[in-house]
Symmetry: C2
Subunit: 331 residues, 2 copies
């Protein structure tokens, strides 16, 4: 047994020697796109506190749940939500088969790219838009439609694919948390099935870790080829006070870290940071007109008002994209 | 570099030498409570096929999703579902505060333990029972109520805690799949929040990997202490054709292995085994009156009729508890 013990020590020593340069490289590379200021420090302090075994704030890995909003937090939401751009493109593509759309709302406004007109059609109009563009096909067909669209669609301002316009500092944050034993989820107001086809490839977050809004669906067993059909009825709206409910239904644990950018994330941060033990709430403030967009209290998409007013006194970190991020997108 | 390469090989060789006895031990211990017959072989053949790198049936670990029904598949469901026993105990406990229950259905029948009377009150009666026993409290309070009950409740026939009456061969199967890179989920007709407090401790399946039926809930932000309140409205019934939908909503991947015991699991197995690539469907047949219970086509709880009739021709494994399992419960 002594000999085995010796061999084990030799093996461990050799392994440590071989791996040491890698580990040192990883340590210096923590959050490299973040300036070394208060925002970055609040993240690192939190992660070090909850991962220090024996420390007063230690949290077991299974309970290290981190939730990220998507639109405006991980990728852009201006000049409109990406999923809205998808819906409008779908309407344009399907319009030849629906001549009546040229004179009926909300399709007339959708075809004209007239947001005010779409908004004027109210919830009923929005639901009709969702029904026409997101329902009536199988689950597999919808996945394919989303994947095909994302492969060819381009952002109207930059001309780049939407999936290349994800925020590099947030990608680093996701990886930093995962490397520290966190379970990372997306909890988005966007459609769950609109996100799942690509979140693993783009963010490293697998489909089962995506929570979002959804329409209903049904299982059909016709002619021995079972399929899931998407229905034109709202199932769940994962926004505002819906986000803690989405978390309860889907994850079943209270997060200890929550990341958002709009008032639609307020209750998610509130729920997260009012739990027992140490927690982290963080809001990304879009204040960088030169490198991205600058908007908050008056924005149609991603309005941030209450979060700016109450966030600091609640101990939440407010990230200035302009001051806290060295770069917005991956080079 | 040559020297580092040599050291690496030495380290790996030593590590393999040290770990070899452990690996051999693990191999001989695969599914030890299963008799070495066709049922066990169908499982092992499947797992070896989908985990053999380069083989025709190889499935990447991320796509190795296995789903297990709970009642009758992982633990017992006779003489009634455990959750129904919980509801009846809750009614008895709360009855002193509800004198009207002694004369109104379904509470009168519930207090008398009269299943036929409860069933006669229909969906409306069942919903009233659920509302009275599962709603009206916070999420945290319900977790505590379930945990307290499970710690003291005893099975009427054996006098043992319900959590000790889980099927040892199925525990081994869960571990065997996890050890082979599978993601293991529960997909149960039972209440998701009734299961989550204990599935990790008993089965090694964490709360986020539990899919089930649910009632609605709402987020309340009163007096700075946010909380989630459980509401007396059905949200989702995860049974029959609902199971593929629960899988679609919650997991977002099609499973490659599904394990059940009743016709409520039929569509889950159908969806799983009609996917592309190799798959496994398995039904546990309760045919062991001596060691557990014997029931199928005529049972009130866990009826198995269509599955017995169609399962074999669909290539599903039918497990005889009597013939295929060396033991039912952990010793």
């Amino acid at each position: 047994m002594l000999r085995q013990g010796h061999l084990r020590i030799v093996a461990i020593s050799i392994a440590m020697f071989l791996l040491a340069p890698l580990a040192a490289g990883a340590a210096t590379a923590t959050l490299p796109s973040w300036n070394d200021d208060a925002a970055r420090r609040s993240i690192v302090d939190f992660v070090e506190a909850v991962t220090t075994a024996g420390g007063p704030d230690f949290v077991a890995p299974a309970e290290r749940v981190a939730v990220f909003d998507n639109d405006g937090t991980l990728w852009g939401e201006q000049p409109m939500y990406v999923q809205l751009a998808f819906a409008l493109d779908r309407v344009r593509e399907m319009a030849p088969q629906h001549p009546e759309w040229s004179t009926t709302e909300p399709f007339k406004s959708a075809l004209a790219g007239d947001f005010a007109g779409i908004a004027a059609s109210g919830d009923k109009g929005l639901l009709e838009l969702v029904a026409a563009t997101h329902a009536g096909m199988t689950s597999d067909a919808f996945t394919q439609i989303v994947s095909n669209w994302l492969a060819t669609a381009r952002h109207p301002k930059t001309g780049k694919p939407y999936t290349s316009m994800v925020y590099q500092p947030m990608l680093e944050l996701i990886n930093y948390l995962k490397n520290n034993g966190f379970q990372v989820y997306i909890v988005s107001g966007g459609g769950i099935e609109f996100m799942r086809p690509w979140t693993e490839r783009i963010y490293g977050i697998p489909p089962e870790n995506v929570v979002g809004s959804s329409i209903k669906s049904k299982f059909e067993d016709t002619e021995g080829a079972p399929r899931i059909i998407r229905l034109p009825d709202i199932n769940f709206i994962d926004d505002g006070a819906g986000k803690p409910i989405g978390i309860y239904q889907h994850i079943g644990r209270r997060p200890i870290a929550a990341f958002g950018n709009s008032d639609g994330d307020f209750q998610m941060l509130e729920w997260t940071t009012s739990g027992p033990g140490r927690s982290l709430g963080l809001l990304v403030h879009h204040d960088d007109a030169a490198r991205e967009y600058a908007y908050d209290r008056q924005s149609h998409f991603g309005r941030l008002d209450r979060g700016l007013a109450e966030g600091p006194q609640r101990g939440w970190t407010i990230v200035s994209m302009k001051d806290d991020w060295k770069q917005i997108y991956a080079p």
